[in-house]
Symmetry: D2
Subunit: 345 residues, 4 copies
């Protein structure tokens, strides 16, 4: 049993890590930290977990974490991870960071959209934790920068097609719709029940920090500059992201090519389900699970390929993918602890 700790266990992503790791057959959850709830039993903060986890949240003390865990998840607002991850790494820990701090190869891009980067030397070492694409690199690293929720939903459908040059690298539109857990557990008027209920709206239009993250990965992987316009929207539901992508297929590429390309690329990958024929992705079908469902439709009249993906933003978009990374790093079955059967309703 590998001992595992979570720094920042009481945000929504942190609590979802606890949920998943509680039921993981090969690890033991040994330490949880929380600035806000230090000294409080975890199941007092999240009473649903009564009987499932029996730990008290602690203040952050790197020494104690190093003593009690071989693997550490950091589920914190960006900026804090780059202050503490270097020490965890130098103590020989395997680290999966859920913030933006270790997602970028180019520190200038990070600094343009976040702030000064104070652990640049680790950027090269860090692997972008999109498991279906960087499996081999993840296996051999000690530091993963887990992808953002929106990027996961955008990259998985696009990458196979861009790598094969089946779609044009310019003029891609990503219209994403997210449930409210994506905004976190912190209080704000924009997450007040009455402000969200019976409301639908866009936000940070073509101005979201996940946009450069997506473009960097797409550009690196496809070997050509990729630009996309990204518009996120808020849906009155708790969990789930649906992304609708509008792309231009290269001349001659038809329905069968696209289906084959996606099916082949994700052959044997347990968490990507290609929806063929009549089925379209629905956030409900992936709720609470690590699946990414991908469907598509060719609008031949307008020579446009529409790709649609659905994930649970807290699972494949955060905690689930983080655990998937851990499994790969530890040489475990990639699906260990992640075999939740989804609700039918």
């Amino acid at each position: 049993m590998t001992r595992v700790g979570i720094i920042g266990a009481t945000g929504y992503a942190g609590a979802e890590l606890v949920r998943i790791l509680c039921g993981h057959p090969d690890i033991e959850l040994t330490i949880l930290t929380s600035r806000q709830y230090a000294g409080v039993k975890f199941d007092e903060i999240f009473p649903s977990m009564t009987g499932s986890v029996n730990l008290v949240c602690e203040a952050l003390a790197i020494d104690k974490i190093c003593d009690n865990a071989e693997v550490v998840f950091t589920a914190l607002p960006h900026k804090i991870p780059m202050e503490i991850v270097p020490e965890l790494i130098s103590c020989g820990k395997k680290v999966i960071d859920l913030s933006a701090d270790f997602r970028f190869k180019d520190s200038a891009t990070y600094e343009a959209h976040y702030q000064q980067h104070t652990a640049k030397d680790l950027l090269e070492k860090a692997v972008y934790g999109l498991c279906e694409v960087y499996f081999e690199k993840i296996k051999n690293t000690t530091l993963v920068g887990a992808p953002g929720c929106y990027p996961t939903s955008v990259l998985l459908p696009l990458l196979p097609l861009l790598k094969r040059n089946f779609i044009e690298p310019h003029a891609i539109v990503a219209d994403s719709k997210s449930g409210v857990t994506g905004a976190g557990r912190s209080l704000s008027l924009t997450t007040h029940f009455c402000e969200v209920n019976e409301s639908f709206r866009a936000y940070k239009v073509a101005d979201h920090r996940h946009n450069p993250e997506m473009e960097e990965v797409l550009t690196i992987e496809s070997g050509q500059p990729v630009n996309l316009t990204f518009v996120p929207h808020l849906v009155p539901m708790s969990r789930g992201i649906l992304t609708t992508l509008y792309t231009t297929p290269v001349k001659g590429i038809g329905h069968k090519d696209i289906e084959d390309c996606l099916t082949t690329f994700y052959s044997g990958r347990p968490f990507v389900r290609i929806c063929t024929e009549n089925r379209l992705p629905d956030t409900r079908n992936v709720r609470g699970t690590n699946y990414c469902d991908i469907g598509f439709k060719l609008d031949e009249r307008n020579q446009r390929l529409i790709l649609i993906s659905a994930i649970d933003n807290l699972v494949k978009g955060a905690a689930g993918q983080a655990v998937q990374n851990m499994n790969i790093m530890l040489g475990l079955d990639e699906t260990a602890g992640l075999k939740m059967v989804p609700f039918s309703v």
Copy 2:
């Protein structure tokens, strides 16, 4: 007081007509028909209306309607209106039809997407009831084909810009998100609470009947062929459509040009609110009202103009716009009966 009848008063659009017309100062609601509920008091079917309306639903009898109403709304599934509207028109009635039957100028387009048209001679006479665009024609007609809910949300932002050649007529994407009343009051698994709740999905991808409706109007009004890819989505809420439009601005067109174009076009139009600066449309802000809110953002990095509109699909997208048409046809104040102050929450 003009006497008004509604044929098909017990669907969601019909009942919304009742709600609005009940509070209208210049008309009297005299007759309601319903195939399903003939003989039943309207407020037994919709108990919220107890005290507001005191009519019994009747089976459809054209004679009786002609005796009791000068203006008739037909809120029926397509195909039925073209069977009964000709008789109403020949009795000298003013008719506002909420189905697709009198929306198209080109009967071939209608027939390609619906069925054979059996009242083609009326198509020329009929006016497309998009009030902000066809005000003068509506004033002088006796037959209005009221626009679909999605088309209203797509056409209002696009038309001013296309007419001025500020955006390219090709490669337009309309990504729309609708509340569930858009699917009507009929029973189906897709509107079962548990299938919609905590779900978000696309449907009829690039294959919705409102697509040709939009293209016909855009093509006629802009004087050039306009193509668009239209993808509707279902949102777990009752009312509202938010449409996000992705367009390419013509070279040299900047933020100020777009703002001026929209502001000028809708100057003096009481139901279109242009959201300048920081405000973006939200379906919540138009709930229960006849407003269409329009906002935009220029993504200069990708030379793309993103337009966003919000309407209440049952009001500006159906019953409210139908009443607005009636007001114009009768020479009343365009806002009569439509001055609802929206909820703040």
Copy 3:
């Protein structure tokens, strides 16, 4: 046109007052105050109101209010009203206070559940603004303490029966369920969308401050000590309170007696609708309106009378009833500005 001001216009009850008063035919809204938003246009805070109200929120200045308004609504947390209302009254203003400060006759009860009362002399003068019960007193007062939302839903069904001694004054249970606007617009984890969505729970079980408010009114009006157990619950919806009351009918009292008692008591009262026969109250049917729907069922097997009431907590439970009080105080038609036709859906 009577000039009206609102102190505390940017909470949910305050904003609902703005919505209703905007459409009121006999008054002019002249001044809005807000501690949090002084200097900000009201329609920037509530964009839905764009075009309906054109006032800038101000800091509280009693002088300015007295100069600009004959009627003042105070929609503030308790304790603040008792500090400012005395001055408004001595300036000759008519005041409707929505807090608990002027609801109690017995200051000791107030002090046991809130805090020291610093304007006790006004308590005698103040009238409890339950319009259907205290109409005559309201007509002649300058100070109304508007009832709480839960008490309104509890008192309206109970009072007619208790006054007639049709039900036992002991052992009454009030099981209430409220939408989330009842918790206000302030931020708290308990109103975070994700904490409320797909959740149902009780809170402040038999320990809510509205309990003594209900008991005082019931005791005074029925002329005998009345005790009730009150348990509120939170419903994942924005607006509405449904209260289910469990009472013991006095021997010999049957269905017809109860129906007659309620129907007679509320005869001619425009905002109370008695649901006879098969219809049961539903919060949806009163949404956005000043109605209180009341239904009942006699469980003869257990000799128990179940009464059910539905109101919109922000309207009949707060702003609507406050405006109804104003109408009565000003000698206007009681329904002025309150004739909203409810949504059918």
Copy 4:
């Protein structure tokens, strides 16, 4: 691996059985029947299950079921089970029926509320599947009548206290609130999204078929006639029942007695969590799990004990408890396949 079949696998309870049994370590799901979907792959009907279950729904054929399963779940509308269960039993199968057909000891009560009973001889043999109360009997039976969802939420808090004579057997009120899955997957206006959303109402007031079911069990177990008034309500959410019980404690019984009674009775029972002190049950905390959370509050002022329970109606209220029964019947660990960690949000 025990082979298991489900008759009626495509209703909400049936599909929930599939979800749970898919992840059960000790059984193999071999056959699913569905009248409506015979011949259709299960994961086409419930696409969320793609990759989890690979069976095609079949028409009902008792022979085939007997050949392929040792344990059979019947998740069908009442009346059908009593027609087919006798044959399954005589083939030596273990049967867990989720309908009302085998819940009653007294066939006259069943017949008064349902219809004629055609398999009365099995009623004596059948065990009421409330696992925490009838564990020993369940271990030794071949036929379980699984409790209704409401009765489970009512009986678990009441039984320990009634058995100890801590509360009065008369004048009990059960005010229950259920999510919409409780109404099943069949289409009806009452489960249409737009009719449920932003709505809260009671239904079948003191007239629900679960009432006699509760009273029979309470009467048998407490050895005295127990009457209760039961009022169910519909909550705009998918899953969960919260029941608020109003009871009269016997003189001298205090907080500690009640806590001890509940804690002792459920000591060692893995699925009942007694919420002590400040925590109150919330449906969100048990969502997707087999837990029943129980809390209470003594209203000493009114000498009333308020008990509150929360379950997931599809799990502890249906499929989960059915699987718990199977585990007991097969001598497996009672929690096998039921160790889902709940969502924190």
